[in-house]
Each structure stands twice: as C-alpha cells, then as structure tokens.
C-alpha cells in the first residue's frame, strides 16, 4: 500500500472506527482469561440467570456462568471461523477465477459455469446441506461457510485478470519467455490484490453471519464450545425468561460484523476508488 492510499485510509473516519472496534474485540479475546476473575465453564445454580452487575458485567447464563467472560472466550472461536472460512474461499475461489480469466475460451466457460452453479443456491441453504452432510464441528462450519463465499472471490479474480492480462507489463513478461503460471501468479495477481483485500475484509463479516446462522439452527460447533452463534442458539432457548445471553451474543456478532463492514468500506475507498460505494 503506498502512502497516498494509506493516508486516505487513515483519514477515513468510519474505517478507523471499524478498525478501533476490531482492535478492542481482538484485545479482549486475547486478554479475557487474565482480566476476568470468572471461569468460563464452571457452573453454579446459585448464580443462575442474573442481570448485569458489578461482578457480572453482562449478567450470567442459565448455568450461572459469566456471559462477559464466555463472550470473549467465544470471540476467538467466532473470529477463527470467520477468518478461516474466508481463507478457504480465497484458496479455492481466486485460483479458479484467475485461471478462468487468464485462459479464456472453453476453460473460462466451464469454470464460470461452475461458479454460476454455486450462485444458483441461496447461500444459507447450500451451507445447511453441506453442514448436514458433514456432521457438527469446527471443520464443518469452516468448509460450509467457505464454499458459500467462493463465487465472489472467483468473480473478482476473473474480472481483475481479464483486465490486467492485456496490459503492457504482461506482454513484456511474456516476451521475456515467462511461463503461464509465472505470469498469472507472480505478475498479474499481485496487481489484482487491492479489490481482493477489500472483498476479504467484507467477507469475514459475511462469513461470521453465515456461521452464526448455521449455529443458530443447531448445525454448528461441538457441545460446550463457547461460540457466538451457539451462544445465541442457547440464549434463544430461554430469552423470554432471561434475555441477557441472547441479547449480548447477538450484539457481539452484530458489532463485529459492523466493524468489518466499516473497515472494508474504508479499504475500498482507499484501494479501489473506481468501484462505487452503492
């Protein structure tokens, strides 16, 4: 990122707000075990379903556990799922789209059809099918959510490559005798990174939302893993009696996704000024 772009980003007030939120969330996720006096797992009937107080900032859940502590322990799992799913989408989507755009012709048509196929499913339905087929667990969630994200990366990569492959520096590289793989991955893709980074940032937010949906439907992580979607699922079970867990876990998801969206919008303004903000 050159200086000009960095300056645009740093002056982008909402983007900086997003970044600040992300830093706070990450810091809490890392530090919670040292900061909080409560054990995230220990159950107690005596402290069950309490409202927010000085010792339990967000109150307690139906097993008498501190919601605040569990939320930030859960943040690690949720953020991990968000990031890992996007990595999965990129790892498959970008080569797919890049090769399609670079090769053109039949290959392009075939690969593009594959992407179209993925787009023919309402995302959450595809995720449900995959998750149901694979059984519960962290790996399942990452793959199910990751597959849903593939098309957007493939499309972006294809569009960028189509645009870049006709440029002079590519022709020069080709004239110097570089192979296709070298041209595609070392010459073209590094120049297409900007929009992909924007997409990845926004994608983490989207992935966290989809994962939360899966967990909410009971197709999420293993029992006893504090994860935001699963906590929201649990909280949903008794929100009429005690709304704390449902409210705060939903709030944690929403705030984090909002932070990624704010930061992603700012990144877009800095790195990819041509695209409209909608």
């Amino acid at each position: 990122m050159d200086r000009r772009k960095l300056r645009v980003l740093l002056r982008h007030r909402t983007a900086m707000l997003g970044l600040a939120l992300l830093v706070v969330i990450a810091a809490l996720a890392v530090a919670v075990r040292w900061v909080s006096p409560h054990d995230p797992d220990e159950m107690s009937a005596a402290s069950r379903e309490l409202g927010p107080s000085a010792s339990y900032w967000f109150g307690t859940d139906n097993s008498g556990r501190d919601i605040f502590t569990r939320l930030w322990v859960g943040a690690r799992v949720s953020l991990l799922i968000g990031v890992a799913s996007v990595v999965f989408s990129i790892a498959i989507g970008v080569p797919l789209g890049a090769v399609a755009g670079y090769a053109g012709g039949r290959t392009d048509m075939l690969l593009s059809r594959l992407v179209d196929l993925l787009l023919s499913f309402p995302g959450i339905l595809l995720a449900i099918c995959i998750a149901a087929a694979m059984g519960t667990g962290l790996r399942t969630v990452v793959i199910a959510v990751g597959v849903v994200g593939i098309p957007q990366f493939a499309r972006q990569a294809r569009a960028s490559v189509l645009q870049l492959r006709e440029l002079e520096f590519v022709a020069a590289s080709r004239a110097l005798g570089a192979g296709h793989a070298r041209i595609l991955f070392l010459d073209i893709l590094p120049n297409a990174l900007g929009p992909l980074i924007v997409l990845a940032t926004l994608g983490v937010g989207g992935a966290i939302l989809t994962a939360a949906g899966l967990s909410f439907l009971g197709l999420g992580v293993e029992t006893g893993t504090p994860e935001w979607g699963a906590m929201l699922h649990d909280g949903y079970g008794y929100w009429r009696r005690s709304a704390g867990l449902a409210l705060f876990s939903g709030l944690a998801i929403s705030t984090t996704v909002l932070a990624f969206n704010l930061f992603g919008d700012g990144l877009r303004d800095a790195l990819d000024p041509r695209s409209t903000r909608g």
């Binding site: 023919s120 449900i128 099918c129 149901a132 939302l209 939360a212 949906g213 909410f216 998801i253 909608g278």
Partner: protein
C-alpha cells in the same frame, strides 16, 4: 422475443440438472442410516435389507438420482418421509411452500416500499440528518443476523402482535391455496383474516429490514446520479418544481437498478426465511428443513431444499425475462 425466451429456458435446463444433482448427492451423504429412521431402532437385519432394496438404496447413486428425478418430473413425487411414516413429502411441501412464499412476498413488498421511501428521502435531503440516519440504518441492517433482529422484534412487540404461527391453532378451515390471507378470505372469515395479518407483521418486518437497507442504498445512489444528470437539470431549468422532478423524472429512472436487485433479493429472502421462520414458529419451508435436518429425514431435506432452489432459479429466470422486456438492449445483445 420468443427466440430469446426459448434460449433462456434452454440455458436454464443444464443449470437445473446441476443444482438438483448437487442437492441430491449432498443430502444423500447425511450421516445416519435412513433405514434406521424409517424403521426405528428395533427392526431386524432382514427387514432392513428388504427396505434397502425396495427403496433402491443399494444401487449406485446416479441411478438413485435418475429414479428420483423421474418420479419428480413425471408424477410430482418426492418420495415418502422416513420419519413421518407413509407421508408423501410432496404433500407437506405443497402446504408449506405457500406459507414461505407468503412471508417472502410480504417482506418483499415491505422492503421495496420502505427502501424506496428511505432512499428517496436520503437523496433529496442529501447531507441532512435523514441522509445519515438512513445510511447508518442501512449499514447496521447488513451487519445484524436476521434471526436476532426477529428476536429483538419479538422482545419489543411480540406481546402486542403474536406469539408465533401463521394462524390461530383452533381455527378449523379448508386451506385450498395455502396462503393464510387468501384462505381466510375465501372461507369468509374476516376475524381469521385479521388474525393472519396480525401474525404476518413481525416476521415480514424482520425479514424485510436487511433488503430494505440494501434497496435504500441503491435508491439513494441511483437517485443522486439521475438528479445530477443533464436532463433533470434541463427539467429544473424549464421551471418544473422540484417535487415533480423528483417524482416524475428521477425516481422513474432510478427504478431500473432496483428492479434488478429484486431478483437477487428473492434468494436472500428465501434463505432468510429459513432462519427467521424458526423464531416465529412459521409453518413454512424453513421450519420443515430444520425439523428434517434434526430428524435426518434426508428425503425430506432433499425435497425441500430442491424445491427452494428450483423456485430460486425460476425466479431469477423470470427476472431476466422481465428485464429483457424493460430493456430491449439485452434481448438483442450477444448471447
């Protein structure tokens, strides 16, 4: 035009085949022995084998797929539920699909009305409180899980509106269409109609909020673009008052990108309905998929997901066709 329609329809066939094949293979690999689900845990091995053969579960998966699709296309048959013993799955889907579509349509209407209203407001009063407020709402809207929003609405207004379901359980009427609003009117029961409407408000609102935010954003930006364009300036210069400019010229032109969004939105709404229905106990496809997933009733999952995906593909096709009517360039452009 006919040629274009035919071309589009033909192009959709391989897509439909591919979509159905993916759903078929995925749902068939759901863990858990379907025979167990069918017979309970106490059946003898011989009975199991016999059932396995009878249902073709011992054949190669592509053969199973062919048999399944033949049944679907020729007889509208989606198989018999393993868990709800002897119940044709198509029967339950016929009943539930209208409930989901009713919810989806209500949400769609709500989102278009609200989205255009907020979008125009934000564009006309650019830079005002309204502008920022609607943009902030839009940003938050796309960051909130739809079922959590549903939960918040239930928490705030549930007491006033409904505790879930799409019709009071004690109402005993025929359901020819499956749409609660239509059936209650057909039965000549205004009281039941009001009950159905009352139960529709919150789920539709929860489902509509996020697309409403998206539509508001699109409306605002395309309005701003049109308002800045030459002919609107010309119209203003000709002395038309600004309201007429906004309503007659700008909004009409801004509607084109909104129409495109509606097709995309439908898919979002279908997916959202699956999540939202659970919160509102809505007797539609979402709650059906959920209970089928937890029962591992894979023929039911298969049928339900397949029907939703087919509806989705069909709606996208329809949007394409409508778009071609509106914008002739597409019709005659390169295929």
């Amino acid at each position: 035009m006919t040629a274009y329609l035919l071309r589009r329809l033909l192009a959709a066939i391989p897509l439909l085949v591919a979509v159905s094949l993916v759903v078929f293979v995925l749902t068939r690999s759901v863990p858990g022995d379907p025979v167990d689900a069918m017979l309970g845990e106490k059946a003898t091995p011989q009975v199991r084998e016999e059932i396995r053969r009878k249902h073709g579960l011992d054949r190669p998966i592509l053969v199973q797929y062919a048999i399944y699709m033949k049944g679907l296309l020729l007889r509208g048959d989606l198989g018999v539920s393993y868990v709800r013993k002897n119940q044709p799955i198509a029967e339950e889907i016929r009943r539930r699909l209208p409930a989901t579509i009713e919810l989806t349509l209500a949400a769609m209407i709500l989102s278009i009305l609200g989205g255009v209203l907020f979008g125009v407001l934000a564009a006309v009063k650019k830079g005002s409180f309204w502008d920022y407020a609607s943009m902030l709402a839009a940003l938050i809207g796309v960051s909130v899980p739809v079922f959590w929003l549903g939960l918040l609405l239930m928490l705030a207004f549930g007491g006033a509106f409904a505790s879930g379901g799409n019709l009071d359980p004690s109402f005993d009427i025929e359901r020819p269409t499956g749409f609660a609003l239509v059936d209650t009117l057909v039965a000549g029961e205004p009281r039941m109609f009001l009950d159905a409407l009352r139960r529709l408000v919150l789920p539709a609102l929860a489902l509509a909020t996020i697309p409403m935010a998206m539509i508001a954003r699109i409306t605002r930006s395309s309005m701003l673009e049109v308002l800045g364009s030459d002919y609107v300036r010309t119209a203003r210069a000709k002395g038309l008052d600004s309201e007429a400019v906004v309503m007659r010229h700008a909004l009409r032109n801004a509607l084109v990108p909104i129409v495109t969004l509606v097709g995309l939105e439908f898919g979002y709404l279908l997916g959202g309905a699956v999540l939202t229905e659970t919160v509102f106990d809505w007797p539609g496809m979402g709650t059906y998929i959920m209970s089928s997933v937890s029962n591992r009733d894979y023929l039911a999952i298969q049928g339900a997901v397949m029907m939703l995906c087919l509806v989705f593909v069909a709606v996208n096709l329809l949007v394409d066709v409508i778009y071609a009517f509106v914008d002739p360039r597409i019709r005659y452009g390169p295929a």
